[in-house]
Symmetry: C2
DNA sequence: GCATATTTGTCCGTATGTATA
DNA sequence: CTATACATACGGACAAATATG
């Protein structure tokens, strides 16, 4: 594999050096790399050499290896024994499993609607309005993050921090696939009205309707993502 | 905090030194420690000194810290900044959330019963018979592990490796709480007949019945665990 | 409240092993 | 097959934080 031809992301990395504020050094380094990877600035498949990245961020290899270990557990990097770490590349099977998991978990969370505190539903409303405002101002990346906030709110209906953490990682993984999209607007914008409909079902405590809307929502999103996936890579190794 | 008075577990650790077979050194070290912690040989609350444990296993501090990082992510250890790592101590709130998560996820998995391959159900049958054989031979620890295999089989109905991994970690966490039980027989043995009943519902593809049996199963187990939890620690800080 | 001892956090240098050109 | 580049793992060192008296 050719790993990285331009290497422009290394210079960008150095700009984050002073951004390493609080927390353990390894965790701060992991935070910077997580941001760069999920934002698509470091494309999937590129190798992250210990020496090069460590020099760019000004940390030792020991510290960097701890950060790598964190991100490998989050499945944003893959670790090949004695070969190094690489930015994860998602294939179609990954997307299928991730959406299967979303349908399962978010569906189960909606089914907990009856016992969920109203505070959670209000937070979901906030995320919907946040997305609509962002769309009105044509801030498409913000529309995408508002959409993720919307789904995080749904998962909160389940009332389990561990489940929420799992799904945060799932969403981060999916972002690796979102970047094959040339136009983020076309992908996220159509779901604004769907989110509004789903919110209405939640606020009227209509579990059945919410479950139905959610399942078609996720099925459509998966289909759309898989379609552009096949277009982008007709013959992947 | 007094951490560890007897320290007998250090000598036991050294017996595992040669057991470190394949894989990265850090991962093998993590494997040994994971075993010792989930088996209850290293009691919750004890501090794992880098120097002491590193000497016992014959690995350097840097390598050991990588292993610690792995187990901290699995929530078997807790990391206090500048103070070190400790074996996790579960409180009642943890148990409540873990069982909420089990009800949610295993319930959702059973609801996927229709689309699950028969191979998975056959594996569940195997785990039931495995538990019954162990009980007949009075091997109570094996009854406990067979019970965990049973639930892992149920989760496999969902067909998501990521979900399975999450729940494996949840089960490992729960083992930290199981050890407050003085008698593992009384806790796990009564569920043998319940598992047999649930298996019958699964094999006849009766989703409704399986869902019902599972929910009362988990509710009872949670109640029983919380009860002995309150007995063991009437006034926890 | 202060001084000391212990432990962790971080970095460096180096030797060994492994994969790839 | 050899050579090269890189990851793996070790040991030592010092700074920083914490606990103890």
């Amino acid at each position: 594999m050719s790993t990285s031809a331009p290497r422009s992301w290394i210079a960008e990395l150095e700009q984050d050096k002073d951004l390493l504020g609080r927390g353990s050094t390894a965790e701060r380094v992991a935070g910077v790399l997580r941001e760069r990877v999920t934002q698509g600035h470091i494309p999937p498949g590129t190798q992250l050499s210990e020496e090069v990245v460590g020099a760019a961020l000004g940390v030792s290899r020991n510290t960097l290896r701890e950060a790598f270990r964190l991100l490998t557990h989050e499945r944003l990097l893959v670790h090949a024994l004695n070969r190094g770490v690489f930015v994860r590349t998602l294939d179609a099977d990954d997307v299928v499993e991730l959406y299967r998991l979303r349908r399962l978990v978010e569906g189960a969370a909606v089914r907990e609607l009856a016992g969920a505190p109203t505070r959670v539903i209000e937070a979901i409303r906030t995320s919907v309005e946040e997305g609509e405002r962002a769309a009105a101002d044509q801030r498409w990346p913000d529309v995408a993050t508002a959409d993720l906030h919307f789904h995080r709110g749904i998962i909160r209906l389940a009332g389990s921090p561990r489940l929420e953490e799992l799904m945060l990682r799932v969403h981060a993984e999916l972002r690796l696939a979102f970047h094959v999209m040339d136009d983020p607007r076309r992908f996220h914008a159509p779901y604004l009205t769907r989110n509004r409909e789903l919110l209405a079902a939640l606020e009227s405590r209509d579990t059945q309707q919410a479950e139905l809307l959610l399942s078609v929502y996720l099925a459509d999103a998966e289909r759309q993502l898989l379609r552009t996936f096949d277009d982008a890579r007709p013959l992947a190794p």
